[in-house]
Symmetry: C2
Subunit: 280 residues, 2 copies
């Protein structure tokens, strides 16, 4: 199968590596407006050739959009305008606004809305790695709007990537993603800002950055290019979750201020229940 990968960053690059290695892709056409990304992807052997988006759409059997949410929304209608039998899918962390945008497109059935829930805090083709998606979940949304043939191609692709498939409406996806992914990023960004703000006057504060800080703030390395559009396109859900999160923090603050140890312990014990849902 000839695959066009649009966006040669962490996600697109990592897909390219394993889809080729595992025999799903016979030929990979890379598209990226960032010349450095494109040339690096070619040099690293992630793709067989670099082409324009127009050319890639023509010669591919499957087109994977692995670009930020705003770029996905901008490009998808034009790509669907040009497809014949080609299947188109994306990898976006928001789904409802994309769905809305192409809901009535004549080639809607060629598109399969997907969100492979995997990643690292790194970006660019040099961050691409084999095995990134293994054993993680991919969410396929609004599948009733995709043709059986298109859906079969995308499901098969995710089998090659070793992902568990979950079906959900785009609306439900966005709500859940706000809870299990988007809020984690805001939490980390805000934590980084809190500590960096303090650092202005206290140069040695980071000598102490072990003991949990590293893992909590890891996601704060994630790029604005990717995350600003996600927050933009999932604003309502993200704000709802942020409200709950800030409320929980205020509850903690109040318990600490009052030295209400019973309340603190109860909150921590309740939070400990998260153990049951974490793998390690």
């Amino acid at each position: 199968m000839r695959i066009g990968v649009v966006g040669l960053g962490l996600i697109g690059g990592s897909m390219a590596i394993d889809l080729r290695k595992r025999g799903f892709a016979s030929y990979i056409i890379g598209v990226d407006t960032d010349k450095l990304h494109a040339q690096t992807a070619l040099k690293l052997g992630l793709v067989d050739e670099i082409a324009s988006l127009e050319d890639a759409v023509v010669i591919s059997d499957l087109i994977i959009l692995a670009v930020p949410a705003n770029v996905t929304i901008r490009l998808l209608p034009g790509i669907l305008d040009k497809v014949d039998k080609q299947v188109v899918t994306d990898a976006c962390s928001i789904k409802a606004n994309i769905s809305e945008r192409i809901k009535y497109h004549s080639k809607r059935a060629n598109y399969v809305a997907a969100h492979p829930m995997a990643g690292t805090e790194y970006s660019g083709p040099w961050a691409a790695v084999s095995g990134l998606f293994d054993s993680k979940a991919v969410i396929l949304c609004d599948c009733e709007d995709s043709s059986d043939a298109s859906l079969a191609v995308v499901r098969r692709m995710y089998e090659f990537l070793n992902m568990r498939t979950i079906f959900m409406s785009a609306y439900n996806h966005d709500e859940h993603a706000a809870y299990v992914s988007h809020i984690s990023h805001i939490s980390s960004f805000a934590l980084a800002l809190t500590v960096l703000d303090k650092e202005k006057n206290e140069k040695n504060i980071f000598d102490l950055a072990s003991g949990g800080f590293d893992s909590t703030v890891r996601l704060a390395k994630s790029s604005a290019e990717m995350w600003t559009p996600i927050f933009e396109h999932n604003a309502t859900n993200v704000v709802t979750v942020l409200d709950t999160y800030i409320h929980q923090l205020n509850q903690f603050k109040e318990a600490i201020q009052k030295n209400d140890q019973k309340q603190m312990s109860e909150m921590i014990n309740k939070a400990n229940r998260i153990k049951k849902v974490l793998s390690t």
Copy 2:
């Protein structure tokens, strides 16, 4: 050297493993009011014998308190009452209130205030591992109040544990610990509570728990027994940091509500500067 380890959990147990393996400890006496912890530590070979606190103080050259903050504060004066030449140290994540408590004790010089900045979210003797402290930082506080001989023993012990030593006042320690450790834990606890609250109605939400959630919420597995006393004894600093953190979250919320993409991107770019202080 004969070492008495009071508290046979993650920290005490992990110290025992490496201090024996690396030749610093010739004999280890374990003390724990939790019989299961005590018997497990003996069974796992972390300690050579289990003794009462009184007996352990008499027969040890060095006594390490590796118990929660409130227990440390309660036990330390009584231990100092009983020592002659023995050196006493602790491993607490808060230091100022401990310092205050024994500031005028006649045996103050026998005590060295220490905070080895290492840990995992697990607890108990079964969580003890070799190498836990390697390459991390240990903070020694108010060292001018310790005798040269006591300080030398404790510094030598942390050399055997492969830790970098940082010197600081207890007051400064507590402020810094609030920024780089205590707030991370509250952030994680609150995140866990936020998502668990949602889960009541949405049973499948955790199928999606990849993509960053795991690492951000990892610390929410930490125990109330350890953390409630830390928040109690570092309340002022923790509340100050919480205020800044909640302020940053509100700034994010406002930017998202207004769809102010410039502001969102600026905050994320600024948060990205955390890269420079994280090792990986």
